[in-house]
């Protein structure tokens, strides 16, 4: 099927959106990505204007409407079976209404804490399907605002990115340490890591660590954003990866919240060792012997000390957690769950496109040309029985100049639209 993944302009759900797109491709779907991050620089430029606040708000709203319109235009052209938006995707309520009117199924994966990011109350009812990472009263709350179809969809890992790595000695020197933390400087983390930093070979990665004098010497790369690839290197190079879920409350360093963060799955998929704070939804995702956990900040230093002294225990836990993630917690598995949920709730979905089989259409080609077409399908990652329309769209996604065969296939498609409408459905 065709899926349009709408990314946010920036933020934590951005890499997750990319992982979803990769997983959907891996499952054999035709995926188009709306690259909202490319619009972010212009949006930020508005903030540099130094104009009155009402002017700025007007400009920002206007710009976001344009971006929303861009998503609609992309939808019209691509005709997806599903539009999958990540949290903070730039889709206005008006745009969502338009999509519903046009019969385009929409889903959001809200990979945020609903108690902190409360705007879902406004837009959630305008999505057909709303996937969340929390349970408890959230499903009822969604139903109360008019969401008919919500589902619990915990986070996951992408094995192509989150994997064991052979690191060079230089990489080990850059990314390695006995103890590390990769993530943003939330208040609970700032307090919890003071002790850790004082006692161990410690590296702190990620953003928003400014103004924390005790931790400043341990912050890497000046607190710059770290790429997904470098995150994997850090996880692989650290003996103990601390994974402390964020909290804006500084009075309780281990919040004991519900959802399990992406880092839990990512570190595990890397085959790396992590020490993670226990979450209420963790038990249904991992067995007790698959993760090393802590319940209180006071346990952090002794547990780190223990695991540094027992590398075999670390390796055993890391192996088990990786096996579990690869079996149950990949983005491909999550996307399968989401698509199955939608299919169950929406009989007749996805609709039959009545497309033309590329293989049937190419049945009369001379052998050499047929071989080139087969190679083209392979190059595009499409199955041999792909619809001609999907071959065309995949070619349209290609950047830069096309070669002669690619252009000839696109030309054939347009020629058929011009001259052979009556024979299109074969």
């Amino acid at each position: 099927m065709r899926v349009l993944v709408v990314l946010p302009m920036y933020g934590g759900s951005l890499p997750i959106g990319r992982y979803c797109a990769a997983a959907l491709r891996e499952l054999g779907h035709l995926v188009e990505v709306f690259e909202a991050p490319e619009f972010h620089a212009s949006y930020k430029a508005l903030k540099g204007l130094r104009v009155t606040t009402d002017r700025l708000q007007y400009l920002e709203n206007s710009y976001l409407q344009v971006v929303s319109q861009a998503v609609l235009a992309k939808t019209e052209t691509f005709e997806p079976d599903l539009l999958l938006a990540m949290a903070q995707a730039p889709l206005s309520v008006n745009a969502l209404k338009r999509l519903r009117r046009d019969g385009v199924p929409t889903a959001m994966w809200f990979v945020e804490d609903y108690k902190l990011f409360t705007y879902w109350q406004a837009y959630a009812p305008h999505y057909d399907f709303f996937a969340v990472i929390q349970k408890g009263e959230f499903p009822d709350a969604l139903r109360a605002v008019g969401v008919e179809h919500s589902l619990y969809l915990p986070l996951a890992a992408l094995p192509d990115v989150h994997k064991p790595l052979e690191l060079s000695s230089t990489e080990r020197r850059i990314f390695g340490s006995d103890v590390s933390f990769m993530g943003a400087g939330y208040p609970n983390r700032r307090l919890a890591f003071r002790d850790v930093a004082a006692r161990f070979d410690f590296k702190l990665w990620g953003t928003d660590w400014d103004g924390e004098a005790l931790l400043a010497p341990f912050v890497q790369r000046g607190g710059a954003r770290v790429s997904s690839e470098d995150c994997a290197r850090i996880y692989n190079a650290s003996k103990v990866n601390i994974n402390l879920h964020s909290s804006i409350q500084a009075d309780r360093l281990v919040s004991g919240g519900d959802f399990v963060n992406p880092r839990t799955f990512e570190i595990a998929a890397c085959g790396a060792f992590q020490l993670v704070d226990r979450r209420s939804l963790m038990a249904e995702l991992f067995a007790e012997d698959e993760l090393a956990t802590f319940d209180d900040a006071s346990q952090l230093v002794p547990r780190i000390g223990h695991f540094l002294a027992h590398p075999n225990e670390r390796e055993k836990l890391a192996r088990k957690s990786r096996t579990r993630v690869l079996a149950d917690h990949t983005y491909a598995a999550r996307m399968t769950t989401l698509l199955n949920f939608i299919a169950a709730a929406k009989p007749g979905w996805p609709r039959d496109r009545a497309g033309t089989s590329a293989a049937r259409m190419m049945a009369d080609l001379p052998p050499e040309l047929a071989g080139e077409i087969a190679a083209l399908l392979e190059r595009l990652g499409l199955p041999a029985d792909a619809a001609f329309e999907d071959v065309v769209w995949s070619l349209r996604q290609r950047q830069g100049r096309l070669d002669g065969l690619d252009a000839a296939v696109l030309f054939l498609d347009e020629w058929r639209k011009l001259y052979a409408r009556s024979t299109k459905k074969d």
Binding site: R398, R401, G404, L405, A407, F411, W415, R416, K417, S422
Partner: protein, 428 residues
């Protein structure tokens, strides 16, 4: 310079690409990508150009099963496209707003393509073409399409050098039966009246005989015309409908004294060969857009208020633009005397000529009510294209604001007026 023109449209459009192609020929190696059916004619018209025929037109192919269509199109086009992609052009002129043209443009770096550009899956209309779309929305004004295409180039050859001046060759009168768009053509009875009248008032034409021209599908119309003509005229007529290929058509018309025709590919071919044209323009045909190119041609242009119309839309006023042609006696009396007062109402008698921009039509008789506005448009376009002029004499504000939109100056564009001027400087 090695340059390519992508012209995938019909016979008439191929001929009207002449100004651009001859401009490019003066700069170096010129290539032409076109539908394979037009290649033989193109070789006659443009012997200097390297042809790249592809399968683009499809009326006959459309009847085949899809797999045979695919085999035919891919079999011909994939090797042709590979060859085009490998040549290494300095500039590509992609002339038609057509999805087929865009797909051919995908073979090239967007930076070298003028007109209609393909950039990583996105179709983009160049600035000059966008401007043309705006003036085309004011069709009563109009700019000749051959000039529009030619001015994708910063300095095309002068319009007078495109086609030879019209001059009869002693071969009598040629009559084109119909164009592709039937409403543009005179019905056989009306046409017969005009033909008979012309032969009466122009003995030189009568001496050379009458040649009927058209495709096989026009043969029945030709027979009806012959039945409508006076027997002595019909007896001397040579009916070639359906008997000539395009090169044969060129041979059949090259010695004519005059070609009587609606707006057709044959008309453009005659103009390219220097054969005098007397054209009947009605319905969607508008001489300011597609009149015969060159000096010495005439167009009888219908000017009812509803013109030029869209051929694809049904006429709800009974094709009233045909009325001025219907009284053959009155029309031939006018043609015989040239007396302005005798020109049938609803008609202009237009004569071709040139200005700095290209082809123009001026009234020999009748009032061209859009003449001033058309002059304003041509002034604006001349300035846009770098000709300058008297800047203290401004172009109509309304026209400027209709033709120049924010998008034109808000972001840089390779086809903007400034970039054109810059190219002049660089090229110098």
């Amino acid at each position: 310079m090695r340059q390519l023109v992508i012209q995938l449209a019909r016979f008439g459009d191929l001929v009207q690409t002449r100004r651009l192609l001859r401009t490019l020929a003066a700069e170096g190696e010129t290539h032409l990508c076109l539908d394979e059916s037009l290649a033989p004619l193109a070789r006659l018209l443009y012997p200097f150009a390297v042809m790249h025929p592809v399968t683009a037109h499809g009326t006959a192919l459309a009847k085949l099963p899809p797999s045979e269509q695919a085999a035919r199109l891919l079999g011909v086009n994939a090797p042709a496209f590979r060859e085009l992609a490998a040549i290494g052009f300095d500039r590509v002129y992609n002339l038609n707003l057509s999805p087929l043209n865009y797909r051919v443009a995908a073979l090239f770096d967007p930076g070298i393509v003028r007109g209609h550009v393909w950039d990583s899956g996105q179709e983009i209309v160049g600035q000059w073409s966008r401007l043309a779309m705006r003036w085309s929305a004011m069709r009563r004004i109009g700019v000749n399409i051959a000039d529009f295409w030619a001015w994708h180039h910063p300095s095309p050859i002068p319009p007078a050098e495109v086609n030879p001046p019209a001059k009869g060759g002693g071969g009598g009168l040629g009559v084109v039966m119909a164009g592709r768009e039937s409403r543009r053509s005179l019905p056989p009875r009306v046409l017969a009246g005009l033909v008979a009248g012309l032969l009466d008032v122009r003995p030189d034409l009568a001496a050379g005989g009458v040649t009927l021209l058209g495709g096989a599908s026009e043969a029945p119309t030709a027979h009806r015309l012959l039945r409508e003509l006076p027997p002595r005229r019909a007896a001397r007529a040579n009916n070639l409908c359906g008997t000539t290929d395009l090169p044969g058509l060129a041979r059949a018309i090259e010695t004519l004294d005059l070609l009587l025709t609606p707006d057709t590919g044959t008309m453009h071919l005659a103009a390219a060969l220097g054969v005098p044209v007397l054209a009947t323009f009605l319905s969607s045909a508008w001489c300011f857009e597609t009149g015969p190119y060159g000096a010495g041609h005439r167009v009888l242009q219908a000017v009812t208020d509803c013109l030029p119309c869209l051929e694809s839309a049904p006429c709800e006023v009974g094709v009233r633009c045909l009325t001025p042609f219907a009284d053959a006696t009155a029309l031939t009396r006018y043609l015989a005397t040239g007396a302005v007062s005798r020109l049938p109402e609803g008609l202009l008698d237009m004569e071709s000529g040139f200005d700095a921009l290209g082809l123009v039509f001026s009234p020999r008789a009748g009032e061209d009510r859009q003449r001033d506005l058309r002059g304003q448009l041509r002034k604006l376009l001349s300035r846009h294209l770098g000709a300058g002029g008297n800047w203290t004499d401004p172009v109509s504000r309304e026209l400027v604001e209709r033709l120049y939109l924010d998008r034109d100056w808000l972001v840089p564009d390779a086809e903007s007026s400034a970039s054109r001027s810059l190219r002049f400087v660089v090229d110098a």
